[in-house]
């Protein structure tokens, strides 16, 4: 069976790749495009470590096939910083010590950024429920939630 030839956009760059039908977007990102920032924690959509934005929508890349992204817009953790400047949420995670081992961090950052773009003034409960699909085993979520809330406040101040 011939592979699919897919043309898409990843972090603003035009990208093309070949993939089998059963390869997920996560497989393609990590193994073909060598963008290993998105992580595989479960391959079943239960941990969020593979979170990316697809056409501006927060999704698990392990639940999207590579061949589904033809002509679409994919944004991964690798595109979050603006050149040499970290996104305020990335900086906030560092300052709050909102990561310990760091494996879940890319997923949380992509998800957190998506939240703040949709809801610039979330309550703590809203933050926790939005991020319920991102598992963390190290931090107990406390400092992650603080980092997101403080970033929201800082961004609102402008």
């Amino acid at each position: 069976m011939a592979k699919h030839h897919i043309e898409t956009t990843v972090n603003g760059d035009p990208v093309e790749f070949l993939c089998e039908t059963e390869e997920t977007l996560l497989d393609v990102l990590r193994d073909t495009l060598l963008l290993t920032g998105s992580k595989e924690g479960c391959a079943s959509g239960d941990c969020g470590a593979c979170s990316v934005m697809l056409d501006g929508r927060l999704v698990c890349s392990c639940l999207v096939l590579g061949c589904e992204v033809a002509g679409r817009k994919v944004e991964t953790i690798e595109g979050m910083a603006q050149g040499e400047t970290l996104h305020p949420l990335q900086q906030s995670f560092l300052e709050h010590a909102a990561l310990q081992c760091g494996i879940c961090t890319p997923g949380f950052l992509v998800a957190g950024k998506a939240l703040l773009e949709k809801n610039p003034n979330p309550t703590e409960t809203e933050v926790r429920y939005w991020l319920a699909g991102n598992l963390c085993r190290c931090t107990g979520y406390d400092k992650i939630v603080s980092a997101v809330m403080d970033t929201a406040a800082a961004l609102r101040k402008g």
Partner: protein, 286 residues
């Protein structure tokens, strides 16, 4: 494994009907991809229906709402008027999985995955939703409660797929709600799900109702006895007890890693009552 993304209903039907070996419809993929990875299913053909416009549209039709089978939970949530008319349906679809999953999961996929614990199905059934199937013989309508016959068993013929749902017109003073029981606060499959839709008259008495229970039987149940228990009442204490009893009586749940039989029956009664009360509050406010 072939992947096709037809741009018309006819195209999809032709692919599905003509498939040698196993063919699967792909909408959100939040069940299919997981099952493929777990080697539970190994399709020869995947038919992605998301390029077919009518599977992705939300529009008003004959006073009701036509919702494409491949509209995502997140998109449903962002549709303010649909959310206002059918808060139960929208909240049910948005309880599936996580924010990420809701960005992809669809009610069509949720129904056709054939799990009696599906979150959106009790809400759709309570709403009186009708599924429009497209197949080689053309289109036909089925009430949603008649689509899932048992675990992984659907009433679809070869070549058929669910293209859209039609929610009926909403009279005034009517609303719906969906609750589920899960051990955590998110991310679990429903141990019990309850959908209630009801209509009130000017005096606040329930004139119409539909009650649906999920995860307590081999298929999602429409429970007419539960509706009867509250029609004609204002959901007073006595009506609530009748509702609970009817819910209990309808359950035929299993013992599994998510809950015991006894637990599911107990909680079905509690949820039926709590869901009905929320629907009542919403109906009063609408």
């Amino acid at each position: 494994m072939r992947y096709e993304a037809p741009e018309s209903v006819e195209g999809a039907v032709a692919l599905l009907a003509g498939a040698n070996g196993e063919a699967r419809v792909l909408a959100g993929g939040t069940d299919l991809l997981v099952q493929m990875r777990a080697d539970v299913v190994d399709p020869d053909l995947i038919v992605d229906i998301k390029k077919i416009p009518e599977t992705r549209a939300i529009s008003e039709e004959k006073g009701g709402w036509r919702i494409g089978a491949a509209v995502t939970g997140a998109e449903l949530k962002e549709h303010a008027r649909l959310r206002k008319a059918w808060p139960g349906v929208v909240e049910a679809a948005n309880l599936i999985g996580s924010t990420q999953v809701q960005g992809r999961a669809t009610m069509g996929g949720n129904l056709c995955n054939g799990s009696p614990a599906a979150d959106s199905v009790p809400a759709l059934i309570a709403a009186g939703a009708v599924a429009t199937l497209a197949g080689p013989k053309g289109k036909r309508d089925l009430p949603v409660e008649d689509v899932m016959l048992g675990p992984r068993k659907l009433a679809l013929q070869k070549g058929e797929f669910v293209a859209s749902f039609l929610l009926p017109p909403r009279p005034p003073r009517a609303s719906d709600a969906y609750l589920r029981f899960i051990p955590r606060t998110e991310m679990d499959i429903a141990v019990v799900g309850a959908g209630v839709s009801l209509t009130l008259d000017g005096g606040g008495t329930i004139t119409a109702a539909r009650v649906s229970l999920g995860a307590v039987a081999p298929r999602v149940l429409l429970v007419p006895e539960a509706a009867q228990a509250i029609i004609g009442s204002r959901l007073d204490e006595a009506a609530q007890r009748r509702l609970e009893a009817a819910a209990r009586a309808a359950c035929r749940p299993i013992d599994d890693k998510r809950g015991t039989t006894e637990f599911r029956i107990d909680v079905a009664a509690v949820l039926a009552r709590r869901t009905a009360l929320i629907a009542l509050d919403r109906a009063r406010a609408s």
